[in-house]
């Protein structure tokens, strides 16, 4: 499985408010056998999770620290923001990454925190740090990897115009999803299995996370135009009411084709790296990461549930900003060259200094051993 399959979801005409374009996705019939209930999402944003031993931890999404599960032994994760819970342990025991998706004991239900999986996947990218002890890297980097690793995001209500656009959006009958464009850049995709679920979860979109890029586009972008219907009534085109109706139908079809081919192309056609997180009956819960290509394409991270045919039952995506893509790209290349700076520079077709600059620009400068790097740069310049 390499791509997102939105079979069964039809596009309906978009609704525009200011710079925000909302494209509803409609299912002819809901996905059988899977529902996303409200209790699953109770306390959205400030998720309270019972850990057992009558303790509970409360986290904000995104969290700042992530467990290092690439090592051995028992892992512990400390969560960035913590609320309440007297005598709560300093860290929460995590044995496997599946912990973020936890099956309720004795029930056929799976609890997972929205976008947690996806963000965690991104934050934990090559989290272990240098695998070979090159002396360019600091001792800290070798010992702890990329920890702590943090990314900032904006809450939906702080994105200008988004809350209003979501408030006045008119839900379609049978609507199971929404593609959210800000300044005509795809900001998020949201799909659920059942229209009733969507109706309840629509307001939660305003509490979701949106990347820096989305916030900036909404802030600086101009209002986007509506794609209004145009009926061509040139000579002899339309003679009866039936012709007129056919022309109106054609308009709706044309929009759906234009949307899938043009506006959602990057989301649907990018080859993603999927990682299965959980299996529940015939449904699979995945998280996916983009290839981190640097071609100006949209790159999304996210999580999805597919049925046995690979069709999407649940999808939630997060648009990465350019900086985040760059960081992901850099980490990928470093890992591919076993974290050797010189070889990475060659692979990237650039110089040692440039790679150092990029690492620093990505906010990973503290991982480098400043003395060794400075010395090496001096040697390069002299020699």
């Amino acid at each position: 499985m390499t791509g997102i399959d939105l079979t069964g979801l039809d596009v309906r005409p978009a609704q525009v408010w200011g710079g925000v374009r909302l494209v509803p996705l409609v299912r002819a019939e809901p996905v059988a056998g899977l529902r996303l209930g409200r209790e699953v999402y109770e306390g959205w944003g400030e998720a309270s999770v019972a850990v057992g031993d009558r303790t509970a931890y409360t986290s904000y999404i995104p969290h700042g620290f992530v467990a290092d599960w690439t090592g051995t032994g028992e892992e512990r994760a400390a969560y960035g923001t913590r609320l309440g819970g007297e005598g709560a342990p300093p860290g929460m025991a995590v044995r496997r990454p599946q912990r973020m998706a936890k099956r309720r004991r004795g029930e056929r239900r799976l609890r997972f925190l929205p976008l947690h999986l996806a963000l965690e996947g991104y934050l934990a990218l090559h989290f272990g740090g240098p695998s070979v002890v090159w002396d360019d890297w600091s001792r800290e980097a070798l010992r702890r990897g990329l920890s702590p690793r943090a990314e900032a995001a904006y809450a939906g209500w702080s994105v200008p115009g988004l809350a209003e656009a979501l408030r006045i959006f008119e839900l379609h009958p049978g609507q199971c999803g929404l593609l959210l464009y800000v300044a005509d850049a795809l900001a998020a995709a949201f799909v659920v299995p059942h229209p009733e679920d969507y109706r309840l979860l629509h307001p939660t979109l305003v509490e979701d996370l949106y990347g820096e890029l989305v916030h900036q586009y909404a802030h600086y972008g101009a209002p986007v135009p509506e794609f209004t219907a145009r009926i061509r009534d040139g000579a002899g085109g339309i003679r009866t009411l039936a012709d007129l109706r056919a022309a109106a139908r054609e308009q709706e079809r044309a929009w759906a084709v234009a949307h899938d081919g043009l506006m959602a192309r990057d989301l649907l056609e990018t080859p993603y790296a999927f990682e299965r997180v959980y299996r529940m009956g015939s449904f699979d819960l995945y998280r996916f990461l983009p290839p981190f290509l640097r071609g100006g394409q949209e790159q999304h991270i996210g999580e999805l549930i597919t049925d046995h045919k690979g069709r999407t039952a649940y999808l939630k995506s997060f648009r990465l900003s350019e900086n985040q893509i760059r960081k992901g790209h850099l980490l990928r290349r470093l890992a591919a060259e076993d974290w050797h700076l010189g070889r990475t520079a060659e692979a990237l077709g650039t110089s040692y200094e440039e790679v150092v600059r990029r690492i620093r620009a990505a906010g990973l400068g503290s991982l480098l051993d400043a003395h060794v790097v400075a010395q090496r740069i001096r040697e390069n310049q002299e020699g």
Partner: protein, 469 residues
């Protein structure tokens, strides 16, 4: 050309003055609405002052009537000659007599705050105060309002007792007037509370700690019709639905839970039909084959302050159009596809284009569209369908189409239109439908300013003779 522009400006203002109330709407905030409306008022007042005054004779809503009066009195100097001033004065006096008293007192307070105290204003306020049927009731119910108005115009209360009540409350031990005396006694005597108007009694009941249910039951005879309708659910007393105006009744029905609407279906439908027949009056059954496209999309839920107003207007129109159409020749098409008017709820998108196509298939003589004009599934299709229909399929105008819009669009300074070829009229109450359709014909962009002025003069004359009689 300039005539056409003038006619357009005036119609735009009339549409705004009928619909806008300066309150929050589904898509714009109260501030946006007030700012937009304020600009429009100033623009029309400066450029077309006689028309601005004449708008008082039309079915503009109370909010705008008060704004127009305030605007005219603030700029009395710009009125022109004595003749124009007299004409304005008559219109203002006639309109003030129709406004609810609390609105008029609020207007007087606004004039006072703005420092408007010309001779004309004083004469108008004095005239209005003198014409009040029961000064003692006003003094009790609108105490601060009356005080402010009388003070502002240096007036004298009609009788010395009311004067003492307002300005020297400690002077008399008791009042000869029963109402004034009840107000005095209500401070310490519970039974006197029930002789007072409802709004005043409410405060005293709270002061005496009377349980709400007991209070509502005993005060019921003193309530106005609307107060009774509003407190009906709390007090359990049945309101007389049959005498309610159509839009009020529609709002009441829409506020009921679905279960109750089913239980009382016969009663509610009969009340709505009776009210609609009353509103239709002599026009009942005279509109021939009629099809209506009614908007019950999510946006018709209005806002927190105008709850379900657009939907109530659509529901009122449904029953009114049913009464206006020839018997059995009426078809209603809701945008949601539902066919039970009593069970409508504001939900879903607005596929106006497809619904209009369905409507045109019934081959009506008249097509009435009641919608806020935000056609979004797909956007703009309604306009295209209407345009092509007019241009290609019905160039002879066999079907007359009119669009009625209950929502003022603050950004557009007008109600939102569907297509240039379709006249659009703003609408506040479903009862005004017939008059609005008449105005809407001017909006097709083919009648000039002269015809419009003639029409307005006719309306003004009619309005003044009715007020004078």
């Amino acid at each position: 050309m300039s005539e056409l522009v003038a006619a357009e400006d005036v119609l735009l203002f009339v549409n705004a003055a009928v619909t806008a109330t300066g309150q929050r709407e589904f898509r714009s905030s109260a501030e946006e609405q007030r700012f937009s409306l304020g600009f429009l008022h100033e623009y029309v007042r400066v450029n077309y002052r006689p028309v601005y005054a004449a708008a008082l004779a039309l079915d503009v809503n109370h909010h705008n009537a008060a704004l127009i009066v305030e605007g005219l009195l603030r700029t009395a100097g710009e009125a022109g000659g004595a003749e124009e001033k007299r004409a304005e004065g008559r219109l203002i006096a006639a309109r003030l007599a129709m406004l609810p008293p609390q609105r008029v007192y609020r207007l007087f307070r606004a004039l006072r705050a703005a420092g408007v105290n010309n001779r004309r204003t004083r004469a108008i306020v004095r005239g209005w105060l003198a014409a009040r049927p029961d000064p003692a009731l006003d003094a009790v119910k609108y105490r601060t309002g009356v005080k402010a108005a009388v003070r502002h115009v240096h007036g004298r209360p009609t009788d010395p007792e009311t004067g003492d009540f307002l300005f020297a409350p400690g002077r008399r031990v008791r009042y000869g007037n029963a109402l004034l005396d009840a107000y005095r006694r209500a401070h310490y005597e519970q039974s006197a509370v029930y002789e007072l108007p409802f709004t005043v009694a409410e405060g005293f009941a709270a002061k005496h700690g009377v349980p709400r249910a007991v209070f509502l039951e005993r005060i019921a005879p003193r309530m106005t019709r609307l107060e009774r309708l509003r407190t009906e659910r709390a007090s359990g007393a049945g309101a007389e639905l049959a005498v309610m105006p159509l839009t009020r009744l529609a709002l009441y029905v829409l506020a009921l839970p679905f279960g109750e609407r089913v239980e009382r279906r016969a009663e509610l439908t009969a009340a709505l039909r009776a009210s609609a027949r009353r509103a239709a009056g002599p026009y009942a059954g005279s509109w021939g084959r009629l099809t209506a496209v009614l908007d019950d999309s999510f946006s018709s839920s209005g806002s927190a302050v105008k709850r379900r107003r657009p939907l109530a207007v659509a529901l009122g129109c449904h029953f009114l159009l049913e009464a206006l159409a020839a018997p059995g020749a009426y078809t209603a098409l809701w945008t949601s596809g539902g066919d039970d008017p009593l069970m409508v709820r504001p939900y879903g998108p607005t596929p106006l284009g497809t619904r209009i196509l369905d409507a045109l298939e019934t081959e009506p003589e008249r097509l009435v569209i009641v919608s806020d004009g935000w056609d979004n599934a797909p956007p703009g299709l309604a306009g295209e369908v209407l345009r092509v229909w007019r241009a290609r399929l019905d160039p002879g105008r066999g079907t007359s189409v009119v669009h009625l819009n209950p929502v003022y669009d603050a950004d557009g300074f007008d109600v939102r239109r569907l297509a240039a070829s379709v006249p659009t009229a703003g609408m506040r109450d479903a009862e005004d439908l017939a008059a609005l359709v008449e105005i809407a014909q001017f909006a097709e962009g083919r009648t000039g300013f002269t015809e419009l002025r003639a029409y307005l003069d006719r309306r003004v004359e009619h309005f003044l003779t009715e007020a004078g009689a």
